[in-house]
């Protein structure tokens, strides 16, 4: 019964989305207030029906209702409850329901918190959201219905792919979708502004919190995905330039550019048409990512169940959403009048540089991802682009992106003085140079020298951001209590920005150290053998049979000592999942601030003589690798701090009311 309720709710949501997507648009164009007023209740109804559908699907998974085909194909009674729950979005149909659920949630949020918006803009934004909702609901109902019944129902389900049964991956899709779908709000605002023909600083201020929230979620989502790859795939890497990884990384890059360019619209009333374009492109890249993953057009680790039929539908959807919005842009954007002028060396200039490099980076990743398809389509033969391409093209582009933020954040608007900024940054500059010289001194090859440069960049970002904040609160230049007072009054957006830039530095250090100085040790070990890696000794204590809820396997034990003191154990596992007939490796990882000890069990070899057996053990020391994810999480935290900025809490000043004095004074980001 619940499956039918869910199915029916989706149909109701689809019908409602037609009204939400058309009547407010017409009302805004024809000046009919009653039509405009349809938008808000429609968005609420949309949320209600999609929520009912989503809950019905969750219910079917939690109760293992195998008469629902989707549950039978993707769940199993023995599966732990977390994965029954995560199984809801661990498959194509369910993940699309999650997609529209998050879309409806954002729609509701805009409906409820959009009181300060001009009524027509508000209605148009909600209408565009409604149209996107319509497209996806139609996609679900016509090609990917999650509520199809099976008759007769099977006794047992097929189970979820074991590689995907993991806490990191259980929460990876919801965060990614929060990011992807969150960018739909910026998209809707951009399209609504194009229809209205007006983009001003107030517009930028309305869009900003949504963009920021979506960006934070996407950052966390990508970090979770890469963390999963690190400990689950079992060979110590954390980023593979896999098409599906790229599909989430491209919107992140364009979204980051959008985050920065919208500041210029908000503060200086410039770069309007560019910012609108970025808002459209960010969401378009999210959709393109969904298409690449769901159509099976690119083979990748994530595309376990792909279907070209669906690809045609999503492609139509892409033409409608992306083609439509970009055509609207082409017609309307030339009308947008540019605002403030600025010199090349200025904060605007730095942000433009950031934008150019980030979008070029996104284009390079997109090109690398699609190149095999494009070349084949024009008859140029079949080739493939692996990590070597991305390392050679993308990484160099990112070097100036990493160098600029600290300087850019300290430049003045309109016209800056780079000499004086560098003068104020001399402490950070010297620490970065010391970092380069200190690591470069021990360099044995070119790779080490490049790594020294990476360390310098990381240190520069961390200390540069610190210097920037200390300057603003006059640390060491007045009394400490004065600095503390200034710190308390520091705009949150300023603090958030410095944290995010510093976090980027932490991440750069992690990436550099873990890729340049990783140590590995592979050896055959019998119980009692000792391996030593980077000053740690690992004593192999044999393996034990283990039986999990839906798997069996072996768990090894390594006892770690350093300088004669025991500091922990590693328990790598090999698991066999009978219901899916496959094996996974679970790495044993001990995370310390200086690096991770990472052990994986390989093959077992019976020693015929003693009757015991020895194992191929791979043990890595990955220096500073945890810093990559610490950096990513801090970056998102910086975004969240910025989100609590006063100007977002009180909303944009209304013209009727005289703006708050303090609020008016915030001249920084």
């Amino acid at each position: 019964m619940t499956a039918e309720i869910g199915h029916f709710s989706l149909i109701l949501a689809l019908v409602l989305s037609i009204f939400q997507g058309t009547i407010p648009l017409a009302g805004a164009a024809l000046n009919r207030n009653q039509w405009v007023a349809v938008a808000r209740p429609a968005a609420r109804g949309q949320f209600l029906f999609v929520t009912i559908a989503f809950l019905s699907l969750i219910y079917a998974f939690l109760t293992s209702d195998f008469s629902v085909a989707n549950v039978a194909q993707n769940s199993h009674t023995l599966k732990p409850i977390l994965y029954k729950f995560a199984g809801v979005w661990g498959n194509h149909e369910g993940s699309m329901v999650l997609w529209v659920f998050i879309l409806a949630l954002f729609g509701l949020a805009v409906a409820e918190f959009g009181n300060g918006l001009p009524p027509t803009l508000h209605a148009r934004v909600l209408a565009i959201q409604g149209l996107i909702g319509f497209a996806f609901l139609a996609f679900i109902l016509f090609t990917s219905n999650p509520f199809l019944r099976l008759d007769p129902p099977p006794m047992e389900g097929n189970g979820l792919n074991p590689v995907l049964q993991d806490p990191g991956l259980a929460f990876h899709p919801p965060f990614l979708y929060l990011g992807y779908v969150g960018f739909s709000i910026a998209f809707s605002f951009a399209v609504a502004a194009l229809i209205e023909g007006r983009v001003d600083p107030a517009w930028a201020r309305w869009v900003r919190p949504w963009t920021l929230a979506a960006w934070c979620a996407l950052t966390v989502g990508i970090a979770l995905g890469s963390w999963w790859a690190y400990y689950e795939l079992g060979w110590g890497g954390w980023w593979f330039w896999d098409p599906v990884e790229n599909a989430s990384f491209i919107p992140w890059l364009v979204g980051t550019a959008l985050l920065h360019s919208s500041i210029v619209v908000e503060k200086r009333d410039a770069l309007k048409s560019w910012t609108i374009l970025l808002a459209i492109l960010t969401f378009s890249m999210s959709l393109l990512g969904t298409f690449l993953v769901r159509s099976g057009i690119l083979t990748s680790v994530h595309t376990f169940a792909s279907d070209p039929e669906r690809g045609v539908f999503i492609l139509g959807l892409l033409v409608f959403v992306v083609g439509g919005s970009l055509t609207l842009y082409a017609i309307r954007a030339p009308m947008l009048k540019g605002g403030g002028l600025f010199a090349p060396i200025s904060r605007e200039g730095a942000l433009v540089l950031n934008n150019l490099l980030l979008t070029t980076g996104a284009a390079v990743v997109l090109l690398g991802t699609l190149y095999p398809l494009i070349l084949d389509a024009v008859g140029g033969g079949k080739i493939s682009v692996g990590p070597p391409f991305f390392n050679a093209t993308f990484v160099p582009l990112m070097v100036p992106v990493m160098l600029a933020p600290v300087v850019g954040a300290m430049l003045h608007w309109k016209r800056g003085d780079i000499g004086s900024v560098l003068g104020r940054l001399k402490i950070a500059l010297s620490i970065a140079l010391i970092g380069i010289v200190a690591t470069g001194y021990f360099a044995e090859n070119i790779k080490d020298l490049l790594a020294a440069g990476g360390i310098g960049i990381g240190v520069w970002l961390i200390f540069g951001s610190t210097v920037e904040i200390s300057e603003r609160i006059s640390l060491f230049r007045g009394t400490f209590s004065n600095s503390l007072r200034r710190f308390a009054r520091l705009p949150r957006s300023q603090l958030g920005m410095a944290i995010a830039h510093g976090a980027l530095g932490i991440m750069v250090l992690g990436i550099t150290a873990s890729s340049a100085w990783r140590v590995e040790n592979i050896q055959l070990m019998a119980p009692g053998d000792i391996a030593s890696v980077s000053g740690y000794s690992l004593k192999f204590d044999g393996t034990k049979k283990i039986i999990g809820p839906n798997y069996q396997g072996e768990r090894g034990t390594f006892i770690i000592t350093k300088d004669g003191k025991k500091i922990g154990t590693l328990n790598p596992e090999k698991r066999r999942y009978p219901s899916a007939n496959s094996e996974t490796t679970e790495a044993g990882i001990l995370t310390t601030i200086s690096g991770d000890l990472y052990a994986v069990l390989g093959d077992e070899r019976k020693n015929s003589a003693q009757g015991g057996s020895s194992w191929t053990a791979r043990i890595y020391f990955n220096p500073l690798v945890a810093w990559i994810w610490i950096g990513a999480i801090l970056m998102a935290a910086g975004g969240i701090i910025s989100l609590t900025d006063r100007r977002h809490r009180i909303g944009p000043p209304k013209t009727a009311r005289s703006p708050n004095k303090n609020n008016n004074k915030i001249s920084s980001i």
Partner: protein, 184 residues
């Protein structure tokens, strides 16, 4: 408004629509009965490319295309940096344990990384050739990683599989094909 009409603003939509058109041509090819997994290969029913590749590290046995005659074989093109190769690996181990000869071409890989992969997950291959430059993969017309070819006893390519081999690929395509080729 007409005075504001500018062609440069149409560049984004033109680029995007071009990309989408390419996707469409791909999808329509797939719709014509071909699944993306069996992308048309010009090599079907033709002899395999002729090559001689060295082993992964010095002293290892290499892979000579002359070994591919006299029996039904699988040729798998893989790399340690390719996640789907990890995914399909248990199936290769399974096939190898059943006595089906699998040969590997290790594409653009670091020797240490490839060795790690095999030490950790097991080595299903009769012989492995290290295709450091990727030239042999081009001869095979490889599009993505991994790819697997079924070669008959005469050394002719009979089937091409793009992407990881999953359980149902084995039961529905590869096993029946191997069986049919063996009885011939």
């Amino acid at each position: 408004m007409k005075g504001n009409f500018r062609l440069t603003y149409f560049i984004p939509v033109i680029i995007i629509l071009t990309i989408l058109a390419i996707f469409w041509s791909y999808l329509s090819k797939i719709k014509d009965g071909k699944s993306i997994q069996d992308l048309p290969s010009a090599l079907i029913n033709k002899p395999t490319p002729v090559f001689k590749l060295p082993g992964i590290s010095v002293g290892d046995k290499g892979f000579d295309s002359r070994e591919l005659t006299g029996k039904v074989t699988l040729v798998n093109i893989w790399a340690s940096w390719c996640p789907p190769c990890h995914v399909e690996h248990p199936r290769h181990m399974q096939l190898a344990s059943e006595g089906i000869p699998i040969y590997g071409i290790n594409y653009k890989d670091k020797p240490e990384a490839a060795k790690n992969f095999l030490n950790n997950l097991g080595n299903p291959y009769r012989a492995i050739g290290a295709d450091r430059t990727g030239k042999v993969a081009i001869d095979w017309g490889v599009y993505g990683y991994p790819e697997t070819f079924v070669v008959d006893a005469k050394g002719q390519i009979r089937y091409r599989h793009v992407g990881p081999i999953m359980e149902d690929d084995l039961t529905n395509k590869i096993r029946p094909l191997i069986k049919a080729l063996k009885t011939k």
